[in-house]
């Protein structure tokens, strides 16, 4: 496996900054060819300390980015400038502390605006052996494949592609057809089935051990329950400018009417979450 990624790492303070380093060290060592360390100007001094603790291979190019006063601006400016393949950052707030709601709002606004894939290190940190890749069955899910493949190959991890069926048949189909089993749901929704099978095939052909799991349940609840058994949770997310409607009103309507599943999963996940753009 050749190190191919440009990884950005937030090196300032955070709720789980130490955990982030524990998680990031093997990640960077195995995958990075270039590393950008990001911190606000006030926390510039931490960069050298972080570098010492990481003990990186000299072949990895390191760049320091110390600008702006807040973590949000520092991160946003950095990723917009250096365009890393993936950004590693800690959780800045915990869900259980309601007094930090303002900071949490800032954090999640930042995550929503990030134009690159990011990995939020939060909760239980374990070596990456099992990866859970959640998919709603849309074509966008296929975007996750290259990054997941690289990580899985680097850590020799197994991947489970998980699709949660929360649909019910509205009209009467007889007692036997209700509730929908995962299998039946995929039979009904051929497009979803096709995408899911394509995902598994794409990973399997690259030598990644992969399986498809379809579960009937509530989307968020089921995903959060299932991810407890894994080391890394991967979810897809739209890019701000290529999927959302161009009209400002439609964008606004979409934002206020659709459930922010990505945020809910990020907030509730007990393990690190990789959000693929």
């Amino acid at each position: 496996m050749v190190n191919v990624m440009h990884i950005a790492l937030y090196a300032g303070e955070g709720l789980q900054a130490d955990d982030l380093l524990t998680f990031a060290k093997p990640f960077i060592t195995t995958l990075a060819r270039q590393l950008t360390l990001i911190a606000p100007t006030e926390e510039q001094s931490t960069l050298d300390e972080i570098l010492t603790r990481l003990q990186l291979d000299p072949t990895i190019t390191v760049r320091r980015w110390c600008q702006e006063e807040s973590f949000t601006l520092a991160i946003l400016k950095a990723v917009q400038t250096v365009h890393p393949d993936v950004l590693l950052l800690p959780a800045f707030t915990a869900r259980a502390t309601p007094l930090e709601w303002w900071l949490r709002r800032e954090e999640f606004n930042l995550l929503r605006m990030l134009p690159v894939s990011f990995l939020r290190v939060h909760g239980r940190i374990t070596p990456i052996r099992q990866i859970l890749l959640a998919s709603a069955g849309g074509e966008q899910s296929l975007r996750c494949i290259p990054l997941v493949r690289q990580i899985a190959q680097a850590f020799q991890a197994t991947v489970t592609v998980l699709h949660v069926v929360s649909q019910e048949v509205v009209y009467f189909e007889g007692f036997a057809a209700s509730p929908l089993s995962g299998e039946t749901a995929l039979q009904i929704d051929e497009a979803t089935a096709t995408v899911l099978h394509r995902m598994v095939a794409a990973l399997a052909t690259e030598g990644v051990s992969c399986r498809l799991q379809v579960i009937n349940g509530l989307v968020e609840e089921t995903l959060l329950t299932e991810c407890q058994h894994y080391d890394l949770f991967v979810i897809g997310s739209h890019l701000a400018d290529d999927v959302e409607p161009t009209s400002q009103w439609l964008r606004f309507l979409r934002r206020i009417s659709l459930q922010d599943v990505t945020r809910d999963l990020l907030e509730g996940s007990p393990i690190p979450v990789l959000v693929v753009r």
Binding site: E168, Y171, P179, Q187, L218, L223, I256, L258, Q259, T262
Partner: protein, 391 residues
């Protein structure tokens, strides 16, 4: 997880059984249509037809209410006395069971209002009977689904949706019943003065009064209650026909049906749709063309039902105004506001917990046939027991 919006429609076994959009929606492939000139006469005819159904349905509705009021004054009292509906609990059970008989809650709520107008039952009993009608109607979502299925209809709610509807209704209506009962019993709510004395209502009087006079002179008094109930069912059937189809719904809303919506959006959607359909089960059926191949996410269905459960009272509110006056109107309004209060409470403050409990319960019930049968058994036994409770 990304909302999966890029899905294409594909044919499947289920697609084949979903009621397809009306023929107006799909011009033959390869032909060029001037939609204005070709569709206009048909569209106008369809609109006029639906307006006709709406007007005729409304006239029939008022006629039925008048007949029920006359019938309730005499034989309604006998029925109520015979069943010993003398307490709010027994009225709750009575309304619940009557909804089974009518396969709908709205006629029962209208009957409750007619009974109140004729002095057969008091305000608290009316309130309880209306609550019972809603609980029974939720059960009927399940039962009607089965009956419709046997009769070859496709647009009826499934077992899971029926159970979900029942659980949601019970979870909101039971505390709402407590609140409303307390408000009415403690006289904390004054009589809200409202009137239906509009020119339209005067026109109704002009048309309906002679018909009622003829019917009353022809038919024996004991039959008025039965005839009134039958006319009421006919009225709801006519009003159902006035509801427009959603042509091309699958094409328009195909992608939207897959997404997860914020609960309040679905709540408003359910309330909005039901303010036209007036029936929760019809509103649920209307979801079919709005969803991909007739399936809906459970997360979306729950707040939709919550919203629908509020505006389904609109016809009862109108019935109360027509036959029961301000006092009846107040009773229905208290019911509606109590339900709204608990719905909003759940939606705004503990929706996640509420949804988790209800949806888990639903899953637990429908995943096992014995559990489902047991649940349905309980739902039949409870109103029967209530009928004999002297509280």
């Amino acid at each position: 997880m990304e909302p999966s919006s890029d899905k294409q429609s594909t044919s499947s076994a289920i697609t084949a059984v979903v009621e397809v959009p009306t023929d107006e929606a799909r011009p033959p492939v390869g032909t060029v249509h001037d939609t204005t000139s070709v569709r206009s006469p048909r569209t106008w005819w369809a609109i006029s037809r639906r307006c006709g159904f709406a007007l005729f349905g409304l006239l029939t509705f008022v006629l039925a209410l008048e007949l029920l009021k006359r019938g309730a004054a005499g034989y309604g009292r006998i029925v109520v006395n015979w069943l010993d509906v003398s307490t709010p609990a027994s009225a709750l059970g009575f309304g619940w069971l009557l909804a089974f008989l009518f396969l709908s809650g709205s006629p029962v709520a209208a009957i409750a209002v007619s009974f109140f107008a004729s002095g057969t039952i008091d305000g608290l009993q009316t309130f309880a009977m209306i609550t019972g009608s809603r609980l029974g109607a939720s059960f009927i979502v399940l039962f009607v689904g089965f009956i419709y299925h046997l009769r070859g209809h496709r647009r009826a709610a499934s077992v899971s949706i029926g159970v979900l509807s029942l659980l949601t209704t019970a979870a909101i209506y039971l505390p709402a019943f407590g609140l409303g009962y307390w408000l009415l019993d403690a006289h904390l709510v004054g009589i809200v003065t409202a009137s239906a004395d509009s020119p339209l209502y005067s026109l109704f009087d002009l048309v309906i009064d002679p018909i009622v006079a003829i019917v009353v002179s022809i038919l024996p008094e004991w039959s008025l209650l039965v005839v009134g109930a039958l006319v009421l069912l006919g009225a709801f059937s006519l009003l159902d026909r006035a509801i427009p189809e959603v042509p091309g719904g699958q094409e328009i809303f195909g992608k939207a049906g897959q997404l997860l919506y914020r609960p309040w959006v679905m709540f408003l959607f359910g309330a909005g749709i039901t303010s036209f359909t007036l029936s929760v089960s019809v509103s649920l059926s209307m979801l079919v063309p709005l969803t991909v191949r007739g399936i809906i996410r459970r997360e979306n269905a729950l707040p939709y039902i919550m919203g629908a459960n509020i505006t389904t009272f609109i016809d009862t509110l109108v019935a109360a105004l027509i036959v029961g006056g301000s006092a009846a109107f107040t009773i229905v309004l208290v019911e509606m506001l109590s339900v709204t209060f608990f719905s909003l409470l759940a939606l705004l403050f503990f929706y996640r917990w509420f949804a988790r409990v209800i949806l888990r319960l639903e899953t637990t019930i429908v995943h096992s046939l014995p559990r489902l049968a047991g649940f349905l058994g309980i739902m039949v036994i409870v109103p029967l027991v209530l009928l004999f409770v002297k509280w």
